[in-house]
Symmetry: C2
Subunit: 204 residues, 2 copies
DNA sequence: GACCATTTTAAATGGTTGTTTAAATTATTC
DNA sequence: GAATAATTTAAACAACCATTTAAAATGGTC
């Protein structure tokens, strides 16, 4: 049975995740991780063999986390409009609880594209989702604008994740403090919801 | 006209820009830059005093480049709808010619927010742009949805820059090769144009 | 061609990197 | 409680880092 004190391996992994997300792979040293985990430097390699191996484990987790919620919502048995609203709300929630997640993924993949598994399992999960079925049905009966899932998803996620990925830039560009930025992000959320629904749904 | 043999200082700066944009500040070594510029390592410090100073010079240039075109279009004497179209086309052009630019800025600012000059000169330039005047006029006479410049700009730029910032992710997620991605990006461009205009312009 | 400032070079600086070692400590098994 | 295995430690490793040095090469001026 697990006791109150965490296993060293987990402590290191969690500490490493925190540091990697903040500083990226290149900006993080083994000593940073050891210090954050309050453990001896050698333990990183004792448990994970190398900084790279530890990183890849964490990167895989982070990527799964990013996609898991999205897939769950795409398959939820609710209407299209509500689904879009949920997707956007979920994105906002994620950006607030894990503000470093997106820029971390984007940047690491940008520097080393091969870190993305080359299998297309997620691709197939997306294509076979309930969301795609709903989209195709709506298009067939004329209630939905002809558009593919590949195009509509970034229209939702892009607008939201973009302002958080470039949070400091937008704070500076629009002269906002932290509170004002959050209010601004809320406004933006409602605009995105309205705009995407407005564009997707055809009324006749 | 340009001399045949470039000045060493410029050669180093251009080489450094290329490497920094690809690998980021942390991922770039002085030796990387020297190798790319085909020059001795000591010259980087001879001309720029330090890697940090060289980086800051380049970063300032890159940031200006990102904002200059946008401001010019915002002040161009053309109609709102055409202006939005031009903004989006310009964004696409930039993402194609300098695909690493946005993720580079985003990531460096994310890691070191103070690298952004704290003055709000750009902020004031945005607020006093012709675009804002046109927006306010349209809102006043009921042809444009009540929305602020801060909200509408990321609705345009976010959708487009997002798919390029996460190009490899989207290529993998949607199972696209390079050609297919460019076709996909073109589709996306048209969707964004239509969606934003559709949302912004009120017809009655 | 001697003089001087500028530019370029190879080599070295001290510090940090990821990783390893071998000894010390703790936990587990009988 | 001795023997064995698992964990943790301090120290060291070679490789690489940004930067500096001092000498060499270059170019222009008189």
């Amino acid at each position: 049975m697990r006791c109150v004190t965490e296993k060293s391996e987990d402590k290191i992994k969690e500490a490493a995740r925190r540091v990697f997300l903040k500083k990226g792979f290149d900006g993080t040293t083994s000593r940073d991780i050891a210090r954050e985990a309050d453990m001896n430097i050698a333990l990183t390699n004792y448990y994970f063999r190398s900084k790279e191996k530890l990183f890849l484990e964490i990167f895989k987790d982070v990527l799964d986390e990013y996609i898991k919620d999205m897939l769950e919502i795409l398959n939820r048995p609710i209407g299209l409009k509500e689904k879009i609203s949920e997707m956007i709300e979920n994105d906002f929630r994620m950006m607030k609880t894990e503000p470093d997640l997106i820029i971390f993924i984007m940047n690491e993949v940008h520097k080393e594209p091969d870190r993305l598994f080359s299998d297309n399992s997620i691709c197939r999960l997306l294509e076979s989702s309930l969301f795609v079925k709903q989209l195709d049905e709506g298009i067939a009966n004329g209630t939905v604008r002809p558009i593919r899932m590949e195009n509509i998803l970034p229209l939702m996620k892009g607008c939201i994740e973009f302002i958080y990925v470039g949070k400091h830039i937008h704070k500076n560009l629009f002269n906002l403090n932290d509170d004002e930025f959050e209010k601004y992000a809320q406004e933006q959320k409602e605009h995105v919801k309205a705009m995407v629904c407005n564009y997707l749904m055809l009324k006749d």
